[in-house]
């Protein structure tokens, strides 16, 4: 119940929206009636259009995120344990991190074409840095005493890395992946605005261009809802994985 109460502000926003449109405080041409949005949503859903495009988008986001996680964790661990790797990669990370990855959309379009690959590469680039940085910080922050204990119990260097440093850094790694998950959604939609023939971002852009604002808002709410759901789901997964931390 208390978790539901937390979302009351969202209900208030919808209520204000409804009041504004119903009493003509805003132009209906610009802000559609929530009832119209619901109708449009239902039509998009039953026609299969929404599910098809959402699935295409999710496929891209999750592919990019999965690749970023795999490479990012390995890179972060190597940075933390091997000095030359750290010296080589650290400046690249620092320069590349604050740069908005959407600036690369034209470049990946030229290099990887208009298909799925260009979007996956872009999402990969946007997601890998939070994973690298959080893995690196987590691995660097591992208590020496844990590593030394394992070494004195007979663990090899490789075993210490995979059996001690990796799980000890897991809370940081998972927070990094969670940040990356949000980035993947941002880049998924913004890349589909510009270079796609399908996907939820493509749908939003097309409907907007065509003046179908109710349908466009239906798609926007869908993206928001799916993004929120994915984040919550990841949070649950995180809590389950890290349940050893709880008293």
């Amino acid at each position: 119940m208390s978790t539901l109460i937390r979302y009351v502000p969202i209900v208030i926003v919808f209520a204000l929206w409804e009041i504004a449109t119903r009493f003509g405080l805003v132009s209906r041409a610009l802000v559609p009636d929530l009832g119209d949005v619901a109708t449009a949503f239902w039509q998009l859903l039953t026609s299969g259009e929404l599910l098809f495009n959402a699935a295409r988008s999710l496929g891209r986001a999750l592919s990019g995120l999965a690749a970023a996680t795999a490479f990012g964790v390995v890179a972060g661990l190597l940075m933390a344990t091997i000095r030359p790797v750290r010296l080589l990669v650290n400046p690249l990370v620092q320069v590349f991190y604050p740069m908005p990855k959407s600036a690369l959309i034209p470049v990946v379009m030229v290099w990887f074409g208009l298909g799925d690959l260009s979007k996956i590469v872009l999402i990969f680039l946007g997601c890998i840095l939070p994973v690298v940085v959080s893995t690196y910080n987590g691995a660097r922050g591992v208590d020496h005493a844990l590593v030394w204990s394992a070494a004195s119990l007979g663990a090899s260097r490789r075993e210490i890395l995979t059996e001690i440093v990796l799980p000890a850094a897991m809370p940081d790694i998972l927070s990094g992946i969670r940040t990356a998950l949000a980035f993947s959604f941002i880049l998924m939609v913004s890349s589909e605005f510009i270079l796609a023939k399908d996907g939820i971002g493509f749908l939003i852009a097309t409907l907007g261009d065509g003046g179908a604002y109710a349908a466009m808002f239906a798609c926007i709410f869908t993206v928001a809802g799916v993004g929120f759901g994915a984040d919550r789901l990841f949070g649950l997964l995180m809590r389950h994985t890290l349940r050893w931390r709880e008293q």
């Binding site: 030394w148 004195s152 799980p167 000890a168 897991m170 050893w244 709880e246």
Partner: protein, 264 residues
């Protein structure tokens, strides 16, 4: 396996130097001979380098000058013969008590049945039966340290290095743990190097005590603890215990004062 060498520390000095920063001489010309199966305490003011010396013996920090030798030869890195117990327990928090104890046994290459059996044996030794499946976060400090001791002893190290192992525990738990450690040492016969700044703890546990100077750490005195141990923990109430503690405290106090003045 009998040997006349427990741990032989010869002319060991150690300097911490931040690159471009100020160098700190932690240890200067340490000579220390720990006998096989001896319980040896390293006592000294904080910052005297006693933990550094322990980490050097453990092989966790590379020896810069001098040499450290055990019955197995020179120390060049961490090894199973030298187990360690830390003040902050250093348990693997994602593993249960049993999994923590099993970790070293897996590295030992024992088969599953032998591992489980041995883990059970050592969990019983430290009186943690019934808590095998608990995670460290669910345990009290004393229980966490018991787990750490079981984990270290399970792989049967010849040398047990202890870095203020009871420093994070409340006074009552500490007393119980001291008595139990003493009992375990008598049963298992290990060479123990025990770092502490608690004089009573050192006198109660150790057969010999090395008193270290303030930084740069040197060994100033080596004291034989000759007490009639038949009474067990009751020995702490005896006059000899009080007198010896007082005498040692005076020696440590001089170093502690020197440390705060920074004159030595």
């Amino acid at each position: 396996m009998e040997s006349s060498v427990g741990i032989d520390v010869r002319s060991v000095s150690h300097t911490y130097g931040a690159r471009g920063g100020r160098e700190i001489i932690a240890l200067k010309g340490i000579d220390l001979a720990v006998r096989p199966n001896e319980f040896h305490a390293l006592l000294g003011p904080s910052g005297c380098g006693k933990s550094t010396l322990l980490y050097l013996i453990g092989g966790f920090v590379p020896v810069q000058t001098g040499a450290i030798t055990t019955a197995r030869g020179p120390v060049t890195g961490p090894a199973r013969e030298r187990g360690i117990v830390f003040q902050n327990f250093a348990l693997f928090p994602w593993k249960t008590v049993r999994e923590n104890v099993l970790y070293g046994l897996e590295k030992l290459g024992l088969d599953r049945k032998a591992r489980e059996q041995r883990a059970r044996e050592f969990i019983e030794l430290v009186h943690l039966d019934g808590f095998e499946d608990a995670h460290p976060s669910q345990l009290s400090g004393g229980m966490q340290q018991r787990t750490a001791i079981a984990r270290t002893l399970a792989v049967d190290p010849e040398i047990l290095l202890m870095d203020e192992p009871f420093g994070a525990l409340d006074a009552q738990t500490r007393r119980v743990m001291q008595e139990e450690l003493r009992a375990i040492w008598q049963r298992k016969q290990k060479t123990v190097v025990f770092v502490t700044h608690d004089v009573h703890e050192a006198v109660f546990l150790a057969e010999r005590i090395s008193i270290m100077s303030a930084r740069p750490g040197r060994i100033e005195h080596v004291i034989d603890v000759r007490l009639d141990r038949k009474a067990g923990a009751e020995v702490m109430k005896s006059r000899e215990f009080a007198e010896l503690s007082e005498q040692i405290w005076e020696l440590v106090r001089q170093q502690a004062i020197a440390a705060t003045r920074g004159t030595v």
